[in-house]
Symmetry: C2
């Protein structure tokens, strides 16, 4: 067993080079020297990205909304919470309110910040702020979706049934679900 | 509001082409036609990968082990659960036991499967099986880490303190933590 050493020396990055680039993705190789002298070359996605938001929108004290959307990576329809990238100049809470209007047709009077999460930090620098939205009102903004998203109502009391579904498996969505349940209990 | 339509027609993939390729990553573009006639070109990571495992290793009825490891994507040390890719020919539970031996120096007499999770399915087809490990015994296998991982003991009763840390933010780790807490409560 160890203690957490907050001053542990990070590896030195001796060289970085772009090795592949597409419209969305830039892959770079970095030559690393660890503090024990070990040399390694790792691949990672370049750039930090703009950050993203995910919203758990409650329509009353126990029911929330999910969207069902095509996921190209798995070529399947997936259930999840509304989410999206933060636009340049936007605050995370503004992005959350906008995405809610675009994806589910509601604005939020109240947004509670829950947590910032990452995804596979060995390869990506992708951060997402998770919010709860309450006191919704109908307002739609045009989004960039190729087809309207199905909007599904679910009860926090049926959490087990949601976790048992094979189309609700995205780790950031499951994290948001548990954080929302915890938040509700603590109110 | 909608009902979930399990028979919703998936978009047709008219064409796929590789647009970028590195040692680890292959990016492809796919030309899609949605059932409403809308045409889009999306990028995604090609290939389904081998699958991965993550393990929450309990050393008694409330304490578990974390590893602290360099993450190249964020260039920082991150706390998380031991994890790794499934080797060809391995069952997920075998991979979980092997990774535990490589990363924390313990084998597991008992492994409980908890959940299969995905990561950003809009772009990736990356699945991970989450396990709880119990009844551990000391056994080390050589891993491929550039430096020994710090192994940290934590109590499930200090869940809030772990969630408050800015180096425990990976969504699959937070998901595993909540699933482990739920599993413990249900025993």
């Amino acid at each position: 067993m160890s203690k957490i050493d907050p001053n542990k020396t990070l590896p030195q990055i001796h060289q970085r080079r772009t090795v592949a680039k597409s419209g969305l993705f830039t892959v770079e190789q970095i030559d690393l020297e660890f503090s024990n002298g070990e040399l390694r070359t790792f691949e990672r996605m370049a750039g930090g990205g703009r950050g993203a938001v995910m919203i758990v929108p409650f329509i009353n004290d126990h029911e929330f909304l999910l969207v069902r959307e095509y996921a190209a990576g798995t070529h399947s329809y997936q259930l999840g919470f509304p989410k999206g990238l933060i636009d340049p100049g936007e605050e995370p809470a503004q992005a959350a309110d906008r995405e809610l209007k675009e994806e589910v047709g509601f604005g939020a009077t109240t947004l509670h910040y829950l947590q910032n999460v990452s995804m596979a930090p060995a390869f990506f620098n992708a951060r997402m702020d998770i919010f709860i939205a309450e006191n919704l009102y109908e307002q739609t903004l045009p989004g960039d979706e190729p087809e309207p998203l199905d909007v599904i109502k679910w009860s926090i009391n049926d959490l087990d049934a949601l976790l048992a579904r094979d189309d609700f498996v995205e780790a950031r969505c499951i994290t948001a679900l548990f954080l929302a349940q915890k938040w509700l209990k603590e109110q």
